[in-house]
């Protein structure tokens, strides 16, 4: 599986994500700086990491979504390349219009950093095929702006098309319909607030996040 991790100024989960990808796939991802205008050839996966790109100025992910590399990320998504956005990566994908809706300030106003229980809703995507629909998993979140909102029509469409991938089981942050992760229409772009790379090794306490990377390896390698 040939993957790339995009690095923005203020990304801080890029190396953790690279470690998780390397440990599951056996191949280190290419690290691509946001000022690049082209992605390396032949990628199977483009990953946008967590962090605080541009200090969350204006809106979380707003500046990064206008970075030069995003044009290439959009083109790759259009070609069917898998695109994974985690936390700030999810915020960037919504700001860039690759996923619908927006991630707003948590309803309780606090930054939330803890392990959260999640219900798997869709187990058919390349990202979630190693899980079972209805299964409860635990993956940590660490965010201030994870409150997913979209208009009622968009939410109904996401639900109807099976594009809600993960849901919080514990009313984490005020997200509409407890949405924690969504897919695009084609199913090749996933945005999620929880951090699977932080739950990927025995030393992390649990390995629920690792199955996401293993699923990608099954589907893309």
């Amino acid at each position: 599986m040939k993957s790339a991790v995009i690095v923005f100024p203020g990304s801080n989960c890029d190396r953790d994500l690279a470690v998780a990808l390397e440990k599951t796939s056996g191949t280190a991802p290419l690290m691509v700086w946001h000022r690049e205008t082209e992605l390396p050839e032949g990628l199977d996966l483009v990953a946008l990491p967590g962090g605080f790109s541009y200090g969350d100025y204006l809106r979380s992910g707003a500046m990064a979504a206008r970075s030069p590399i995003l044009g290439a990320v959009k083109a790759a998504a259009d070609r069917g390349v898998a695109v994974l956005g985690i936390c700030n990566g999810f915020q960037i994908l919504t700001e860039a219009g690759l996923l619908p809706g927006a991630l707003m300030r948590n309803s309780g106003l606090h930054y939330i950093c803890r392990e959260v229980p999640l219900k798997v809703e869709n187990d058919r995507s390349a990202f979630t095929r190693r899980y079972r629909a209805g299964e409860e998993i635990v993956i940590p979140v660490a965010h201030h702006d994870g409150n997913y909102q979209a208009d009622a029509d968009t939410l109904d469409r996401l639900e109807g098309e099976g594009r809600v991938a993960l849901r919080y089981s514990d009313r984490c942050n005020g997200s509409a319909r407890d949405i924690a992760a969504i897919l695009n229409e084609r199913g090749n772009v996933l945005g999620m607030m929880p951090h699977p790379e932080r739950m990927a090794e025995e030393a992390h306490g649990r390995t629920d996040g690792r199955r996401l990377f293993e699923g990608l390896l099954d589907a893309l390698a």
Partner: protein
């Protein structure tokens, strides 16, 4: 030329910050505040050649996220406030 862009949350979009400010005002003993909505003010110093349409494009492309926010453009000539 000074131009102001006001970015506000759309009606119906939950505003947790506005809600917290509202609670804080009540905590300070201010009564009669029915609702609080928090927004952003962005001041642009523009070359006179920059037209309204271009400012609107700036709003749509970056300054506001039109999924959740509205924007209003105010050119300095339109409304000169005494404290500006």
């Amino acid at each position: 030329m000074k131009t102001r862009v006001y970015v506000t949350l759309k009606n119906g979009v939950l505003d947790p910050q506005g809600k917290a400010i509202h609670h804080a005002l009540e905590g300070l003993g201010f009564s009669g505040v029915n609702d609080v909505r928090a927004g952003k003010l962005i001041e642009l110093d523009l070359d006179p050649s920059v037209g309204e349409a271009e400012v609107e494009a700036m709003c749509r492309k970056l300054l506001a996220n039109t999924v959740i926010e509205n924007f209003r453009i105010e050119r300095a000539a339109d409304a000169r406030e005494p404290h500006a």
